[in-house]
Symmetry: C2
Subunit: 369 residues, 2 copies
């Protein structure tokens, strides 16, 4: 069996018939934003992202959050390529009876996200439609060198994150199946400062907008590698996940596997990165933590859970994003795939186990020693 | 009575709380695209436009047309500022059961519009949603001088179009109330070549994406002028309008007043433009035709119909865009405003009649003489 990731297949089929601009630097899927070369060695970084499904599912019931996310999701893509944001254009589809108060909250979310990113709304378009949705298109530029891409990971390379993982899926789990009065605080910030620094430090980078596991799987596929996470990967989870896991009956790894991201950056350094470079990293990149290593073996190994094969990961990514009332079926499907990974892992453990990676929330002591 | 244009008021209220980028050259509403200055005197032109209402109303029942328009509407804004297109990003919301064949037609429309504009899809985003809609964001650049704006029109200035008018509203009239098998051919082309030339020739420019009358009203408001059209303005209408007018029982001026545009460019030259400049214009700008003159008196004078005051024009622009089955009510409202304009005009004719403008589909002989 060879399972395709539906989203990748869709993007490939949409792009197949479209000629590419000779000024476009990146290939399909190889970066979080599109790159266009302008005269004077300026590289323009462009990305577009719509907030629609999260509103339709009831997850972003708060219009403030819808506005905030429409801005942050796009600036997060600029962060992942190390670009300086020039601003964002917003196309809003607003239902005819959308309350004025909700509209003001939406605008407040947009404004506060722009202020947080020290950037601007440059223009927009408004339309009437049955369902609220917002499409942002962010524009950034790089005037001094190459952008970050998702490409350049080799077996043995070190994997890092700019922050704790799982809060996006914790928020979704409570938002769609729990008591909304206990919603954890979900307010992702585009890691623009970190992205700018990483441009001269990291080999590859991608934001976790679709959840941590999907991001690792995409990086793995693009680079022909796998990943093994540090043995104490649970320490990387946001404290809210560890609190919620027993209350909701959700095993911790599910907070990595769900599709609702935390908008951190995953980035890699070459296996032989010298100590001073790792020190530089931990001093310059706020919130930075060691996650694991790239492996020759495909798939993703979560110590204590098992090895997810590329097929398992494709199946997880192809699960339909649940709406309110559909979460238990989604979870059941996810847990079945997890069980298969565990069983599969027992059989071929010797092939995939590359040993533990010791230190978390610091740079890798093993790598130094 | 002072009637606001709802769309202008909405945009002003949305923008009111948003700080503007210090790199942004244009003020609100003053141009068809947003301008950002980059190092090396490069000006970036950015615009975003969603195709949603025309799909929901049933007007763009053909997915090919929806794709074509998502591209053309955006590149038309770049044409109106004289920018060279670098490409477009597309965010598509697709219903879960959208047929594969329809999807292929949509992609074909996108591809063919890009080819027609010698430009490219740079990237995109796909989402699931109940209703098909497509948001395009076009990016262009100007490397040698100033962009075209909507500003710079004075009383006496000469008004031109890049082509015949009214086909958008003719298409909408048949599409929403007539026999769809008799639909006129509607396939607007962004006037990119003309826009590039006009950058060194014209004083002001705006595309007719919202229909000819709304475009003139917007230019009039922004510049504190009015317009009087040439006495034989009916000759400017697309032949399809003149055929359809009696069959549908629609007076010809309604093809200028409806909200579904033809995506031509309206542009102006100063009153005292010398003969050789007008000759240059008619030889360099394909399809170019004289439309009328700017006036000190506010409003728009259509010889043979009457003078539409700014209030009349705001009321016309505020009419809700009709869906299928709602067109007769829309027309009734429009004709009532037209009747009032005619009556009002009889009373203050002496104030507004600036005499006939003779030649159409050539440069203005009067202006030369």
């Amino acid at each position: 069996m060879k399972t395709e990731v539906n989203e990748n297949a869709l993007i490939a089929s949409l792009a197949a018939s479209l000629p590419r601009s000779p000024l476009q630097l990146n290939n399909l899927q190889e970066s979080d934003a599109e790159f266009i070369t302008l005269p004077g060695s300026i590289i323009l970084a462009l990305t577009t992202d719509t907030i629609a499904e999260e509103i339709a599912s009831g997850l972003y019931a708060d219009p403030w959050l819808a506005g905030w996310m429409a801005v942050m999701a796009n600036f997060s893509d600029l962060a992942a390529v190390g670009a300086d944001p020039l601003g964002i254009l917003l196309a809003e589809t607003i239902p005819p009876l959308f309350p004025v108060e909700a509209r003001m909250k939406l605008q407040k979310g947009i404004r506060e996200a722009c202020v947080a990113c020290a950037s601007y709304v440059l223009g927009g378009d408004t339309n009437a439609g049955d369902a609220l949705q917002i499409t942002g298109t962010a524009v950034g530029c790089i005037t001094d060198g190459r952008p970050l891409t998702r490409i350049g990971i080799h077996p043995g390379d070190l994997l890092f994150t700019t922050g704790r993982l799982g809060i996006g899926n914790a928020f979704a789990a409570v938002g769609l199946m729990g008591d909304r009065s206990t919603l954890p605080d979900y307010r992702p910030s585009a890691r623009l400062r970190q992205g700018r620094r990483l441009r001269s430090l990291a080999a590859a980078c991608m934001d976790t907008s679709d959840g941590a596991l999907a991001t690792l799987d995409q990086l793995a596929r693009l680079n022909g590698v796998g990943f093994t996470l540090a043995s104490n990967w649970e320490d990387l989870l946001d404290p809210a996940c560890r609190e919620l896991a027993p209350a909701l009956g959700i095993p911790p790894w599910v907070f990595l596997a769900g599709p609702h991201g935390e908008f951190e950056l995953f980035f890699t350094l070459p296996a032989g990165t010298p100590h001073d470079r790792l020190d530089e990293l931990s001093s310059q990149i706020e919130g930075c933590a060691f996650v694991g290593r790239a492996t020759e073996v495909a798939g993703i190994h979560l110590p204590g859970i098992g090895r997810f094969s590329p097929d398992d990961l494709a199946l997880i990514r192809n699960l339909e994003t649940p709406r309110r009332g559909e979460v238990s079926r989604y979870l059941q499907n996810l847990l079945e795939i997890g069980h298969r990974a565990e069983v599969g892992h027992r059989i071929d453990k010797s092939m995939t186990d590359t040993g533990p990676c010791s230190s978390i929330l610091h740079t890798d002591e093993q790598a130094k020693g």
